[in-house]
Symmetry: C2
Subunit: 206 residues, 2 copies
């Protein structure tokens, strides 16, 4: 049980140690909430003194931010090597790949989404904002609308809003089981196309 610390003091490369602690933190924060999990828990699980966690990450909050940041990264593979056909088909493939990723890393992804926004936290908001920005780029790329300038700001805002629906719909699928994967595929693809091709042109540009 406590064989985890046979040698009291094993010295490691800073990068390795940091990665090890971060891994434990990711797992524990994923399972429990922010207040539930203590630095002591993380340190114990990593077989390390509590102060070392502070040494590497500064504080609990910063460690948490680091975990969130790593979890919210949108895999680039989702929008890579798309066939140069229609936006419809490209978006369909994109959505499908994304659902594949989510299904594979189910627990981890749900944790990241569940983590989202602990109170009104400007730093967390910043992280989410950057993640959404990346996701928006992926969508626009898939829809072959990278060089649209007309109402670009509103376009991106709409896609960010849509990505919020995407998260909620994914929760419906994975947690509540009210929607199937194919349902999600239909819903997400159609709504994003509807937004891009029908709703967006209907907005008066000011």
């Amino acid at each position: 049980m406590d064989v985890q610390r046979q040698d009291r003091r094993r010295r490691m490369e800073p990068d390795a140690r940091r990665a090890e602690i971060l891994g434990v933190a990711r797992r524990l924060f994923g399972a429990g909430g922010y207040t539930t999990v203590s630095i002591s828990d993380i340190a114990a699980e990593a077989g390390v003194a509590r102060a070392l966690v502070n040494h590497y990450f500064g504080g609990k909050r910063q460690l948490y931010l680091e975990v969130v940041r790593q979890m919210m990264v949108v895999p680039a593979s989702v929008s890579e090597r798309l066939p140069p056909t229609t936006p419809e088909e490209r978006l369909s493939i994109c959505v499908d790949r994304w659902l594949e990723v989510v299904e594979r890393n189910r627990d981890m992804w749900l944790s990241a989404i569940g983590l989202e926004s602990l109170g009104n936290d400007p730093e967390i908001d910043q992280i989410m904002l950057e993640a959404d920005e990346v996701a928006t780029d992926r969508i626009l790329e898939a829809a072959m609308m990278t060089d649209v300038t007309e109402g670009r700001t509103k376009l991106r805002a709409m896609i960010r809003a849509h990505s919020s629906m995407l998260k909620a719909a994914s929760r419906e699928w994975l947690v509540r089981g009210t929607l199937s994967r194919s349902d999600l595929h239909v819903i997400l693809t159609r709504t994003v196309l509807h937004l891009l091709h029908t709703v967006h042109p209907a907005l008066r540009d000011d």
Copy 2:
């Protein structure tokens, strides 16, 4: 400055005292995060001993739950006295009223949205879930689809997902200013109609 406690001990009706503390808690939790705000802060602001907060609400967590519950109430006025015309028009009015409410209580509403989900918290999830359920009923009522039985579960799931987009889009409007109120009206009305009339029939019922 500290004239707030001229008489050291003023006795109040339990209901009044409880309401007073809850009001302060709502304000402080709205401004800062869950961990940032301490019971001491709330007690001090309310001009009361810290232990009294525990006496009335049991613990910090339960007080927080109470605040969230009270904030997420969807005003019933949004879907009241709608004209018996088309679903399009009824939903349009519904959305408009909703935007009116949000605009009027801007700060308060933003706080409520920012509050949601403190880590993976089943009780908070439960509260949000009930709130979403009520909101869904309002939408279905406005769309005159209260008695639809075909794929009812999926229909409700889609509307819940849509309400998530509604929140995100509202943030874009109020916080970032990337969308105008009329933009929101167009986006929300069209997408919800698209979901109900086009996407929903396209889902294979299993």
